[in-house]
Symmetry: C2
Subunit: 287 residues, 2 copies
């Protein structure tokens, strides 16, 4: 995974520095947020699935960058005052605090746009690239990630608190959809089969559910220093989470179940030991 | 052009209604803004250039819809309080006034995302679709339309008022870039030559410059009823425009020159009479 990380950072640096521009405040803001300490889990998944399906992970780098650029845009827009109004992200000022709201808005828009530019640069058979654009745009659009953001806003309304089913749909859209895109774009880059595409999507769903539940648990139990943000913010905001609905013990068991299913789906991909380790680590992380 | 308009509206309705969703506030906001009375000039250009280059304009509809979805997203985000803070757009409440800021932000994000989904749906050779994604994403990204928005913000700062050269670069990015995408995606859909692609881009540049200068003039001279917004807002905001720098008479002559160059570029496209008429009408419009 260390090799993947270096390759991803170099590719991100390259796509962001391709364009010397005047003025360059928006570009600076894009760079600031892309290199603000993200763990690059999603683009690593893209490269890993490409390799698991017999492809050269280098060919999947433009897809992996697209995924990370979208992850970054979604965090910038999510932190804006009209959304979650978060002043900090991973212990650093969020984009609109470091720059300003208009710059953060445009930086998010530009990162989303650049993600598709990155996809178009892949040196792969064009039909695979078109399919990647199709799958990606649906999973991060109004039926996917953006729809999840909308449900998240709705969930904050005291009159429309989610039950467990609604919370699961919210999580499937908000968290799982981009993870599904991450894994499936790797399969696509390798020219994998429909079965592999579907198994990768299912793995990502189970992983995303486990990931979100662990997030909910950490908001209650984590060391704020390690987490890079205050703990207890969900409860303070009256937010309904898996912990609220299932209790700490119940949420923890639920995360275990999703993780077990994710691990069993990886059985279909020979050579997936490093990915199994990553999957276990995400469950047992403390930040 | 009337035929084009009907086909574009039907295709936009179809892509927006493909996804029955709960909740659907963001989808409602997308629909509200897409059908808020836009003149559909840009998607008409896409279909027109497809036809001029010997293609079937129906095959270019997914590209034309992508253009209009991006035009709509850019207006929604541009109207937000942290940007131009406009309460009205074409005489109707702007998206964040009709809904709310968070919904307008997400609706813009979702329209931008859906634009690329629309491109991916084109039933055209995949290499043309990939090229369309590449050209489109660059022209509407940080080196194009978004860069123009950034320059526009900078131009509002009393310490960095633009001179004529800077104003032209601003206009080339903010206004011309999306028009260039509109025309060039039509050429691409038809499988046109590199020469046609380049001439279409140059025509769009001249058209965009003329279009923006006429906009600047109308802000001074128009009937506010017809314009759908108050006149004199540029002057009230201390904004530097072609009218400020060249005077009404000088700006008008400048618009004439750009229009003449645009018309002469259309000479390279046999059968472009309707497009010439549209070009002249845009110069002589009163709203």
């Amino acid at each position: 995974m260390q090799e993947y990380l270096a390759a991803i950072d170099a590719a991100l640096e390259q796509i962001l520095s391709r364009n010397p521009l005047t003025p360059h405040r928006v570009l600076d803001a894009m760079h600031y947020s892309v290199f603000a300490g993200g763990k690059r889990i999603r683009p690593c998944l893209t490269l890993a699935f490409c390799q698991l399906c017999g492809g050269d992970p280098t060919t999947a780098l433009p897809f992996a960058c697209g995924i990370e650029l979208v992850q970054t845009y979604s965090l910038i827009h999510d932190d804006l005052p009209c959304m979650d109004d978060d002043d900090f992200r991973r212990g650093k000022p969020s984009c609109h605090k470091q720059f300003d709201e208009a710059t953060a808005l445009l930086a998010g828009d530009a990162l989303l746009t650049m993600a598709f530019e990155s996809l178009s640069q892949a040196e792969l058979p064009p039909e695979r690239v078109v399919k990647a654009v199709e799958i990606f745009s649906r999973l991060i659009g109004v039926v996917g990630m953006i729809g999840g953001q909308e449900m998240d806003l709705e969930a904050e309304n005291p009159d429309t608190r989610p039950d467990l089913d609604t919370l699961r749909t919210l999580c499937a859209r908000k968290t799982c959809a981009l993870l599904q895109a991450s894994c499936q774009l790797g399969v696509l880059a390798a020219g994998g089969t429909e079965e592999q595409l579907s198994a990768a999507g299912e793995y990502a769903y189970q992983l995303g559910m486990a990931f979100q539940i662990v997030d909910d648990i950490l908001d209650v139990t984590a060391d704020p220093e390690k987490l890079g943000k205050p703990v207890g913010s969900d409860a303070a905001n009256g937010k309904v989470t898996h912990v609220t609905l299932l209790g700490l013990e119940g949420a923890s068991q639920e995360a275990d179940r999703y993780t077990a299913r994710a691990l069993s789906l990886l059985e279909r991909f020979p050579g997936s030991e490093p990915l199994k380790e990553l999957t276990r680590n995400l469950l047992h992380r403390d930040y």
